[in-house]
Amino acid sequence: MTKFLATTALVAVLSLPVYAAQPAEGEKLAEDQSLSFWILDAIKTLDPQLTESRTDSDMIRQLFEGLMTQDDTGAMVPGMAESHDISDDKLTYTFHLRDAKWSNGDPVTAGDFVYAWRRAADPETASEYAWFVELMNLENATAVVKGEASPEELGVTAIDDKTLEVKLSKPTPYFLKTLDHATTYPAPQKVIEEHGQQWTQPGNLVGNGAYVLKSHDLGVKATAVKNDQYYDAENTIIDEVNFITVNDQNIALTRYQAGEIDWFNLIPAGQYPKLKEEFPDEAISVPWACSYGYVFNLSEKGPEALKDLRVRQALSYAIDRDIIVDKVLQGGQKPAYYWTHWAMEGFEEPEIEMANWTQPERMEKARELLTEAGYGPDNPLKLKLMYNTSEDHKKIAIAVQQFWKAIGVELTLENYEWKVFVDKGNNQDFEVQRYAWCADYNEASTFLDWFRTDGDNNGMWSNEEYDQLLADAATEENPAENYKKMEQLLIGDMALAPVYHYAQPNMIKPDLRGVPLDNVMGDWYAKNLYRVAE
């Protein structure tokens, strides 16, 4: 086994004690170091192994810390693990834990990770995120999740209190990037066994993060305060973090303007330009690792017409992405001509033909292709588009209806509530479906895996060469080339019509500093933020 430092970022940061809030020289800290962050929905659970929501994770990230954390560019830096070794075959990772304590004073041990990971995979826990352990490719993960092997057989072992050994079933280039996901956070076995499912209540919850839960009023507000037991508490400046639920974005914006919320990260579609003009220092749009597109149903249940590549190409070409981005959404999103979000770490933009054409050129090609495929004024192509209830999806769908009408396609819009939408999608009961995917980790494969033959792909597109490229990417030193080829296969065969790459239009109070705007995952740690005196 060779000593191996995973990334250059890790080398750079090892010289510093840890990654923490670093006020610039001359910045005077404000008296009040509390932070109020807006969330759209109530927090569903604070149990790291049970959560499945981004909102929950934003709070859980303050209360717990994984083996790795992220710096403000999203690069992985040491968290609970001070360093790690990787075996030559890239199948065994050994993590060396730092001296750290739980908020009740108990030491954080390798056993706490073993317990947590087994807990996530154990069918007894019935975690909806059990698949994350499979995604990490932990040895025996699939068998444990299926209940065919006992959780003790999962590829994670505590060599001693300070050494954690992880065995993978295959080399996984993104493995280290999964180590900041809530599912992988350690869990306090003693506390969970004592309180059962009530262990996440204020007063019961014990965490190893920079903050400790003070109160949680469901659907109203949750508050965490500085954890004195945290190993880097002396460099933590923000002393109170509030998560304020406001179910309506416009109301949230009003409350932001009234000073009740310091950071609001989802300006409603169409309002960003006006806010940017009015509050140039506060309205900031940053790329965010999600992509949006229209998936074609290529399964047996799908319409015959969509099985013709020319039809799919015509439909994709006819979408005027610039109008959707510049006139409908207006929040800094980018038109998409391929699936992976453009800002993913290590991703190189693939050469896609249609991206270089003008929209009139695309329209002309679309008309030609559709005529070639046998559709025209006498025999119009009729399709149905399924989307879930949301003003924004509706606006985009209506725009697309118009774009497609221009090439003679009669599109019927079908709106379903979320649960019905999801069910129909998973059962291939649709013709064209709007779809969006958000990255699980900062690497292209999180997007591309969706179109793997056994992946989640609702349209049932399948391509052997694509699958092979994805499998090979796992062992490549530089998988970017594979990813590029895969995008070309995907778009060459128009498995979907990509529409746009997300951006996150924020409103951030000007005295709040250290917000990780360069982290395309949108993950943040209150311990790295601070407020300056104005």
């Binding site: 569903k44 659970t45 999801v422």
Partner: protein, 307 residues
Amino acid sequence: MFAYVMRRLAVAIPTLLLLIIISYILMHFAPGGPFSKDREVPAAVLANLNAKYGLDDPLWKQIWDYLYGIVVHFDFGPSFVYPDLTVNQLIAKGFPVTLTYGILSFLLAVLVGVMLGVTAAIWHNSWLDYLAVGISIGAQVLPNFVMAPILLLIFTLWYRLLPGGGWSFSDPTFWIMPIIALATSYMASITRITRSSMLEVLGSNHIRTARAKGMPERRVILRHALKPAMLPVISYLGPVFVSMITGSVVIDMFFSTGGIGKSFVDSALNRDYAVMMGVTILLGTLTILFNLLVDILYVWIDPKIRY
């Protein structure tokens, strides 16, 4: 009277039972389930989830177990979406909030509504009448989802007098906007009903007689007109009271009160069966109880009514 109340209560139990069974069945057949996810849950995990919540049992057994849990342990089961909480805890957290702003808002709507309605009727066709009717129409066309953002703009953003949302039992400044926003449209209806009912009563024979006897107008109105005029108002107030104390999704959403109204709507959208059933039962019970209460009030107000 006592026998009547007993009889009504006896009917209430099978009604409630029927409500539970029908709701459970309807919910069961709604497309999509609590664990239908964008990213499909692995089959093995899904099987475990279904087993954990008893969703793999036959329907009749699910309903039986559910009823058994309620009757024997007063246990409404665990929430499927909020794994940290049971339905009992969810209701215990949300219902007191809803009850607080609901009752206060009801009182406000009734006090102002009746006052305006009576004023308008007494000074029929005077400027007071027009003012009262004007206010009432104004309030009617401002439903709570319009009222809420307007209040917020004025009191939170411009004058910074009130917090823009949230809830605290110890700080009434959090209550003011939800109460006003919820009360306005109800107040408008109460004004209209009171006014027309009062006008009708004021034109009736017994009032003419009272006036002919030379009874002072003040007494005519307070002793002879007000009580009978309240009859249609009270039959309107029964269901209104229930709907106000069981919450409003609009108020909960706009003011982040954490009330039960939002939980109810969410539970339906999330297919959180247990929460949905819990709130349905709460609502059903309250509706039955308050309808009974209204019927009893009738007897007190109108001696002509006998059961």
